[in-house]
């Protein structure tokens, strides 16, 4: 077990190194330069030439990469955003919690609703509940996330006025951002109005972002429950005369949740992709909008740090999921 964890952690090193090279080279292959994005309508060719020259693009790319690696690893300096001219680390500290908060809320929504849905679908296998939930889940994964977000926003925020339409918090509320997880910040400050407001801001984006995972979780739960139901130990438990409720909760559901837990890890990537679109629609200042803007503005330091960071998170989440899976399920052995 320990060997497996160590091995997986060591594997991170080449992946991150490779990724950093890939991102570095790739970013420099983008046409245009960051300076040009600052000039706007008043750009003159002379101005652009001047800024380009300042960019020190004369260095061969491997030297640029070596320099970059040196500052990042040795000084732990992620650089300064070219557009906002602030420390990338500072921006990351603001942006990342926003996305995590959204992703967790979406996960909560999808798991909280998906597991019961999948479970009941399996229980009523072939029945109307089953068919409806299957079709609904398929429709769920067939709707473009931004389309759903736009519709939700228009109906529930603009028409009905039940939820706010933009941002993470009402700007009239002053909440000291200590952790930048606003939910936590509100709890620390014991500001229940703020907490309620922050949660209200989370509802629509979380539903939009959680729609696809919801469909997937429901389907996988259903499939897993169907599988487990025919296992010997479940039959034995039933034969022993245990009440169906106890069989369901002790044996069926618990074992069926194993495959569901792996899926949660895999959804990290999906949620981060979806966050780009959801954050755009709801104007939430998170990683998604941050990185999309950075791509348009050729904000090299932000791109480099942001993409690497997300990848590390993604890889780590999957590692944690794999490890916990191994712990929960001793049948799986990891050979080295």
């Amino acid at each position: 077990m320990l060997r497996f964890i160590v091995r997986r952690l060591l594997l991170l090193v080449p992946i991150l190194l490779g990724l950093s090279i890939l991102v570095f080279v790739f970013i420099r292959a983008l046409p245009g330069s960051p300076a040009e994005s600052l000039l706007g309508e008043r750009a003159t060719p002379e101005a652009i030439a001047q800024v380009r020259e300042q960019y020190g693009l004369d260095d061969p790319i491997y030297i640029q990469y070596a320099k970059y690696l040196e500052t990042t690893v040795a000084e732990f300096d992620l650089g300064v955003s070219i557009v906002s001219r602030r420390d990338v680390t500072a921006e990351l500290k603001e942006r990342f919690p926003a996305t995590v908060e959204l992703a967790l809320a979406a996960m909560l929504f999808s798991v909280g609703l998906g597991i019961p849905l999948g479970f009941f679908a399996a229980k009523r296998y072939g029945g109307i509940v089953d068919h409806t939930s299957l079709v609904a889940s398929l429709i769920g994964i067939s709707i473009p996330i931004f389309f759903l977000a736009l519709v939700l926003k228009y109906v529930f925020a603009v028409r009905l006025g039940w939820f706010p339409s933009v941002g993470r918090i009402d700007v009239l509320i002053d909440l000291e951002p200590r952790t930048n997880f606003y939910v936590i910040d509100a709890i620390i400050a014991r500001d229940w109005t703020a907490l309620r407001d922050v949660l209200e801001h989370l509802v629509l984006p979380a539903v939009a972002l959680g729609s696809i995972p919801l469909a997937i979780v429901a389907r996988i739960t259903r499939a897993a429950v169907l599988d487990v139901q025919n296992e010997d130990y479940v039959r034995t438990a039933r034969a022993k005369g245990l009440s169906p409720r106890i069989v369901d909760s002790r044996h069926v559901l618990r074992n069926a949740l194993l495959p569901v837990s792996t899926i949660i890890g895999l959804q990290t990537g999906l949620l981060l992709s979806g966050a780009v679109l959801t954050e755009t629609v709801f104007a939430r200042p998170g990683m998604g909008t941050w990185l999309t803007d950075a791509i348009f503005n050729r904000d090299y330091p932000v791109l480099q740090a942001g993409i690497l960071f997300l990848s590390i998170v993604f890889v780590l989440v999957n590692l944690v999921v794999d490890i916990s899976y191994a712990i929960i399920n001793p049948r799986i052995r990891y050979s080295s």
């Binding site: 994005s37 003159t44 060719p45 652009i48 800024v51 001219r85 909560l108 700007v171 009239l172 709890i187």
Partner: protein, 557 residues
């Protein structure tokens, strides 16, 4: 522990299922605060370092310059300078300064502060000489005292218009120029030339910057956390992507602001800003989409505010691209653009008029008797055939994506309408597009945006030089031509201090330009802002920079 975790979960579930969340609609909880929907964050709040509208809007509230644009007009009027006198044939300007003005850090505004700021700008070094940092200074004043390092661009090398600043006495400052300039006073109304507190500039290291990876990176905290001017609002806090908060300055020299706070809230999409206005999450936003105007009008708690027209939208022609160097082909483009149809359509929703010149009709120097080009596709085809070209003539036509400008509310739609009309006129249009910033602007300015591209300009102050001079005073890759006659007449006009002669020169230039057809102007527009009805006192400005000092909440809620 479990209990604590369960609470937010339960709350979320309640919110989800019961959907009983409090309605946000309409009423302001703190009615003295105005939330304004911006399209994005400012870049930095050091006036001299920016030229973009989203940075200049809050800067206009925090800072003041010697001159200002009179609210609701493009006319230049006094601000921190009560009056000025020109002497030495327009090479020397003496300013009588307002007394009893304080900066937000409670230091005094005086002639020394004025000269400190001018000297700061003139003595900028290294990263600050990048035109990414000081584009307005460079476009108005040219160069710096010394050019340092490798910032050896031609822009910075021209002799600066600025020579020196003298403190005549405590409240009199004199600025000497190296040559006469008639547009100097107008330029001083640009918010970029606002006066900062010398103490704060020093204290918060406004001049600290370095070149990192070659781009200017400002490492001082002045422009991010401590912008300090004399304006009616002072900087309070700034949380990126969420809010920039300004608070009323209680020791403002003039009539104090009605609002206690302004919050600028970035919302990227126009549809998002409209919706936030409808839900009451913002109380106003700029550049209402023409198709949304009916929505706002039909809502009694919302209203539209019109901004006087002070811009021009044009189709630029790049003469470096064959066969655009031929006049007949350019004329064919002019006759082949159905400008009337575009202006009449809901793209402009009755807020535009067809442009016949590269400057707005309201400015002195505008000429009515220029050559006009009415949509005539048959004539275009004849012109092209007469030039010995085989129809259809293939041309690349660029338009920007992901942007709307006051003069160009919906670029893809304008492009499609024009492309269709050009195809009827004997052209084969190849569409090309790029994100507005930086790709599109870069392509346009470096002459890489095909045969034709869409662009435009909003004036900064009431001076023909700010339009015609900006476009055609010197050869530019964007247009790809070198027409001595046109360049010369605009140079002469800029230096001419006699108003009558100056006007005549610009009129002549307009006529020559529309004969030569470096591009085809197509629209002057009246952009609109959307507000909640109870917001009063917002005086829309043609130059797009409104003072929030005058804004207040009217009766009702």
């Amino acid at each position: 522990m479990a209990r604590r975790l369960r609470k937010p979960v339960a709350l979320l579930a309640v919110a989800l299922v019961a959907l009983t969340a409090a309605s946000l609609g309409g009423a302001g909880h703190q009615s003295r605060t105005l939330v304004f929907g911006a399209s994005r964050d400012p870049l930095i709040l050091d006036p001299i370092l920016v030229s973009d509208g989203e940075s200049l809007r809050p800067i206009r509230q925090i800072f003041e310059g010697l001159m200002t644009v009179v609210p609701g007009t493009a006319r230049v009027g006094p601000s921190l300078a009560r009056s000025f006198k020109a002497s030495n044939k327009g090479r020397t300007y003496t300013f009588a300064l307002r007394k009893g003005v304080r900066f937000h850090d409670n230091t005094q505004f005086n002639a020394q502060a004025v000269c400190f700021n001018f000297k700061r700008w003139y003595n900028f070094k290294g990263p600050f000489q990048s035109s990414a940092a000081t584009s307005y200074w460079q476009s108005i004043f040219g160069g710096f005292q010394t050019t340092v390092g490798n910032t050896s661009a031609p822009v910075g090398q021209q002799q600066s218009l600025f020579r020196s600043c003298q403190v005549v006495n405590r409240y009199t400052a004199r600025i000497n120029l190296t040559r006469p300039s008639a547009s100097f006073i107008g330029a001083l109304s640009l918010p970029s030339f606002s006066i900062s507190s010398p103490a704060a500039l020093r204290r918060y290291e406004a001049d600290k910057a370095e070149l990192r990876g070659g781009s200017p990176v400002f490492t001082g905290s002045y422009g991010f956390e401590h912008p300090t001017g004399t304006g009616p609002f002072r900087f309070e806090s700034w949380r990126r992507g969420e809010r920039l908060t300004l608070a009323r300055f209680s020791r403002y020299w003039g009539p104090k602001a009605h609002l206690s706070r302004i919050i600028f809230r970035p919302i990227t999409t126009n549809a998002g800003r409209l919706q936030a206005l409808q839900t009451g999450e913002v109380q106003g936003y700029d550049l209402v989409d023409p198709q949304d105007m009916a929505t706002i009008r039909s809502n009694r708690s919302l209203r539209l505010l019109n901004r006087p027209q002070f811009n021009v939208a044009y189709v630029a022609i790049n003469q470096q691209q064959e066969p655009m160097n031929r006049l007949a082909v350019r004329q064919a483009v002019a006759y082949g653009l159905d400008r009337q149809a575009v202006i009449r359509s809901s793209i402009y929703a009755g807020r535009g008029e067809v442009a016949h010149a590269f400057m707005p009709p309201s400015l002195p120097g505008y000429a009515k008797n220029v050559k006009k080009y009415k949509y005539d596709p048959a004539r275009s085809r004849r012109l092209l055939q007469g030039a010995g070209l085989r129809l259809p003539v293939r041309i690349e036509f660029w338009y920007p994506s992901g942007v709307q400008r006051p003069y160009m509310p919906d670029p893809p739609r304008i492009f499609q309408a024009f492309a269709a009309s050009l195809e009827r006129a004997g052209f084969d249009v190849v569409p090309r597009s790029a994100p507005w910033s930086p790709d599109y602007l870069n392509a346009a300015q470096t002459g890489k945006a095909g045969h034709l591209h869409l662009l435009g300009w909003t004036g900064d102050y009431a001076d023909a030089d700010n339009f015609l001079g900006e476009f055609f005073q010197a050869p530019k890759p964007q247009w790809g031509f070198n027409n001595r006659a046109i360049h010369r007449i605009l140079e002469r006009a800029e230096a001419e201090t006699n108003t009558k002669k100056r006007t005549a020169l610009y009129q002549q230039a307009n006529r020559q330009i529309m004969q030569f057809l470096p591009g085809i102007p197509y629209a002057h527009t009246k952009p609109a802002l959307g507000f909640q009805t109870r917001v009063r006192g917002y005086i829309a400005s043609p130059v797009s920079l409104e003072p929030f000092r005058l804004v207040f909440y009217g009766g009702g809620t």
